[in-house]
Symmetry: C2
Subunit: 121 residues, 2 copies
């Protein structure tokens, strides 16, 4: 058992991390692109990138979720335009007429119920 633990300590592991959801992700630069992927190049000490988001140099940026509450129209538009060629997933709020329409959503599109009020389409 002890030998296994020693082995585990020496091993290099790859973990997938999710940062906090916060505004003002400043104080870092990125490098890479294309097949290579996007990596954190430099993180300024004491910056939000370091203190709030816990970004570290060398981290690979897999995805960014941008929340659209209180966003300027122009900024939302730019983000949507620049991300158009790439894989995206949207989270939407939709008003539906009631049970009947909800059942229509369920039957016509693939979905996974996440909460009572949340479905994937």
């Amino acid at each position: 058992l002890e030998q296994n633990q020693t082995h585990a300590e020496q091993e290099t592991m790859e973990v997938t991390l999710k940062t906090e959801v916060e505004a003002g992700a400043s104080g870092f630069s990125v490098m890479g692109g294309g097949n290579e992927g996007i990596f954190i190049k430099k993180v300024l000490k004491e910056s939000p990138a370091s203190k709030i988001f816990s970004l570290r140099e060398g981290d690979q940026l897999l995805s960014a979720t941008i929340f659209f509450d209180n966003i300027k129209y122009e900024d939302a538009l730019k983000i949507l335009q620049y991300s158009e060629p790439y894989r995206v997933q949207f989270s939407l709020k939709r008003k539906i007429a009631g049970k009947e329409e909800l059942e229509h959503i369920h039957s016509t599109v693939q979905y996974k119920k996440e909460r009572v009020s949340q479905v994937d389409i």
Copy 2:
């Protein structure tokens, strides 16, 4: 019971939906911004926005997750720059030295284990 069902059918509900994760979200326009929120203004019939993402006019765009695989450096940079003032969450891949460093991540930052290899920081 029947009366309850009738009532449920007349009710207007608000649901939160997640779209498919796909590239090429074209064929829609947005409106709004600020306190109001961002809403889908127009969706072109037969467009990816309609067919793949199932966007509907009037949907509120709560968030967009942009995946950085095969993204151009310049586009990633623009997306990060435009989203800086707003609430964001990053998904990262990090190489760690092994068990010891993993325990360090666990002890110093708040996290929620999602899978064996996935932690929230």
